[in-house]
Amino acid sequence: MPENVLEKIDAKILGERLKSARRAFGLTQEAVADRLGFIRTTVVAIEKGERRVTTDELLAFAKCYGRNVSELMKQSAFTEALTPQFRAALSNSHLETPFPEDQLFQVCHELEARAEDYLELERLCKAPLPQDYPKQYPLEDSRISPEQFAEDVAQEERNRLGLGDAPISDLRAVLEEAIGLRVFFYEMPSFVAGIFGYNDRLGGCVGVNIKQPWYRGNWSLAHECGHFLTTRFYADVDIMQNGRWGKHRAERFADSFAANFLMPRSGVNRRLSEVEMSRKERITIADLVTLADYFGVSVQAMCLRLESLKRIQTGSWDHLKAGEFKPDKARRPLGLLRSARRHSEWPARYLLLTKAAFEMGELSENQLARKFRTDIVSAREIMEELDSLVVLEEGEEFSIIPVNLASPVSVE
């Protein structure tokens, strides 16, 4: 008979995990007891860690909650590191229209699960994420407006990161590699743009709705970074509606930070002056569209930025919108239509760590697929893509040499 692993696991910890799994599934202790034919006090005692769970009970709980036994046994499972923060953020949001809570919590859980997976990969590969977090900028102490404060912070961060006032060609890479944030793009309900959470163990974690256009995704990313810089210990869910949330100081700061970080005053002014001087004409719609593309933002964001910098008339965007202006229609003749441009779902480092862990035999194929939220065959394809191919010509012969992107460049 194998040793009873359940006797070795801390009953309190396992009880906590079972409780979290039950709550995530939306069942009361009584409902679980009814379904499984237990008495309620048994469920209570197991969840409190006062009574050890038996093998049959554990298998029954897993089936009841639609979870794998391996998930329930995993150390990092259901730690709910970020969830309480999100719960607090949502209950303080005062939105005009209430949104389905279960959908919102699903988004929060997913960010947490992805960050936990990332952390596990780092542990398996013994490669912790290099972090260079800036100091926290205390928004509450600031006596100037959130907008003014945001401009100062954006400038300071740009200087710290050596970005000057040039456009940021790959914002995600800057946030991931230079700062050390964990950034994930994944499907969220259309009313959610992005999400931010932080704790000491996982660090700063950002989720962005992958269904948004590329430009809008950049904005959401910069917006969530704004939260990281100021209200780091408060989780945020960026919901697209004109509720009271949008008027909070922290939200005003985050939006203004996004504008200033992506479109720095001096950089935009200089570029605009160059355009104006070359033609000696007023700014055209084509200029606006080109400028927006140059700075990696939407036409709307650029138009509003130019309004705020007083380079074009206030109300220009409203005027364009009233005329049913369609940015993509304008982008097409300018050769700027990049509808296929998408943010990658996973950080490049996450992909490489997963590959390394799999090749070291630290992940099974099922676990590999789970890391990518996909099936086994699709996971194999991702691995194959990472082995990019080089084709060499030798006389009339062609040979294919697989290149392992995770292997070191130097040869010992």
């Binding site: 008979m1 194998p2 040793e3 009873n4 692993v5 359940l6 093998t55 049959d56 554990l58 298998l59 794998n68 036994v69 391996s70 046994m73 995993k74 035999g361 630290e362 992940l363 099974s364 194929e365 099922n366 676990q367 789970r370 099936d375 086994i376 065959v377 699709s378 194999r380 394809e381 194959e384 697989p402």
Partner: protein, 178 residues
């Protein structure tokens, strides 16, 4: 040789992608089984024409008795299952637990699963996709041409082939480039 081979999800996908699953199952001198967790997993193959994912439907091969589903029953099996689930997913853990306790063979290509079996000193007869295919070829006198077509199907539909440096890499590559 064991009378039943329990396949994990990865080997099952490969053999289903071959287009000859029934022939392979019928031509070998053992029966195929999968664990109940694997049977409930959503498994897919790549459709070579559309490029889309194609969901695998196991009902027919189960109903026709080509393969059976096994599940943990005894306390020993359940304990082993839970113990291995600390390191592997449920499908893999259940397959290993059943194979070990019932003295059945296990077909897996998974490096981690094989490492765990070795590290824990579990006495399980191990098979792999390639070993099964070679056994089938010898047993049923399958021509190289026919086997090449099977390997091509597995490469295209299951995206599987042994990696460079693995024991069957040369055998596979040689056969495919003949």
């Amino acid at each position: 040789m064991a009378s039943i081979i329990v396949q994990d999800a990865c080997v099952l996908i490969n053999l289903l992608a071959s287009g000859r699953f029934e022939d392979i199952a019928g031509g070998c001198d053992f029966r195929f089984a999968i664990s109940s967790v694997v049977a409930e997993e959503a498994l897919f193959l790549r459709n070579t024409e559309s490029g889309e994912r194609e969901k695998i439907d196991l009902r027919q091969i189960i109903e026709r008795g080509i393969m059976e589903i096994v599940t943990v029953e005894s306390e020993t099996e359940k304990l082993r299952y839970i113990e291995i689930a600390l390191e592997l997913d449920d499908g893999e853990a259940e397959s290993i637990a059943i194979a070990e306790v019932r003295n059945l063979a296990l077909a897996t290509d998974d490096k981690k699963a094989r490492n765990i079996i070795e590290r824990r000193g579990l006495k399980i007869e191990l098979w792999s996709t390639c070993k099964l295919l070679r056994h089938w070829q010898n047993k049923c006198s399958i021509s190289d041409n026919a086997l090449r077509s099977v390997l091509t199907n597995i490469s295209l539909r299951a995206k599987y082939h042994p990696k460079f440096g693995q024991p069957d890499f040369e055998w596979w590559t040689k056969l495919c480039t003949k």
